[in-house]
Symmetry: C2
Subunit: 190 residues, 2 copies
């Protein structure tokens, strides 16, 4: 095993431990010390790579997520949006991702570095995929030519985050379907 392989294996063990321990005791009680102890790593090894508990949790969550929120392109934009929203809801609604992601967003309200990293590494790439898929649909005439594409991420994801963070009711596929339907129909009379 090379040094670089050992480093990768250790990094993965630390991230796995972060998710396991986070799920067991919750984000508030999670500490770098406890993660280091359970992962059999030095505290300083962790701090060398991650400046804070929030940064370590973000990386750990992203290691789970990988490409599960990629867009499929079956040619039917409504169906593809539903599929993508269902995947988002499965991710948000399932431990360890859901509760720990919710806690991370809570942390981002008082920690600008966590907020910036969350946007740079998760939200922005996701928004770019969303806009690309919708742009293709618009070119194929499946989307209103007037629709404000730059708002797509906010209008599609906003209602999910509203339910996750504000009303804190369970996220369901049916809820996602209603959002997609409402956005396609629109509020106005035609």
């Amino acid at each position: 095993m090379t040094d670089s392989h050992r480093g990768t294996a250790r990094t993965e063990a630390i991230m796995r431990t972060t998710l396991e321990l986070g799920q067991e005791i919750g984000y508030a009680k999670l500490s770098i010390e406890a993660i280091a102890a359970r992962a059999g790593a030095g505290k300083h090894t962790i701090y060398r790579r991650w400046p804070s508990k929030g940064a370590l949790l973000l990386d750990s969550l992203l290691s789970l997520h990988r490409s599960s929120l990629d867009f499929s392109d079956t040619g039917d934009i409504v169906s593809d949006l539903r599929t993508q929203m269902h995947a988002a809801i499965d991710l948000l609604g399932t431990p360890p991702f859901g509760p720990l992601y919710q806690a991370l967003i809570g942390e981002a309200q008082s920690n600008p570095q966590v907020a910036a990293a969350l946007n740079e590494r998760f939200i922005t790439p996701q928004a770019e995929l969303t806009v690309a898929r919708l742009k293709a649909a618009r070119e194929q005439g499946q989307l209103s030519p007037d629709f404000d594409l730059d708002l797509a991420m906010a209008v599609l994801s906003g209602p999910l985050y509203f339910q996750l963070l504000i009303t804190q009711e369970p996220l369901t596929h049916a809820y996602a379907d209603r959002i997609v339907d409402a956005l396609f129909i629109g509020m106005g009379k035609h």
Copy 2:
């Protein structure tokens, strides 16, 4: 001055101090002890009324908000929605309400009592006003008869909260207008 008047004056002084001190030092550093000291009140007086810092902040924020988010009814639903969204943005974008409300939502991610109180005392009444105004518009034929009214709060507010909590970019009236326009046009071709 009666005992009840004195109680009200003291309650108002404590809430005013919570907002002042919160604005000065931020929610994370705010403590019941410091609020009590500056308001000239006993710590136990505060704890008798508010179980936690989050509960006290929620009441203090609601005392600022009062009826500023009531819906006007000019007969034109698009114009009334814009007015209402602008008021929401003015509230969210202005200290002390904005940053402290954001911190409170952060707190609500790990404190279920704060989350429940936020919903019961602020979100649900707001949703009811929104649905009532939209229902009237639907009856007047200004809204698509198919539009899912129960989703109105989530689709209108969701993109505001997304910007406040996730992308953390400044909230502007122009952003609100784009949301209302996008929701009225819809994503679909007509």
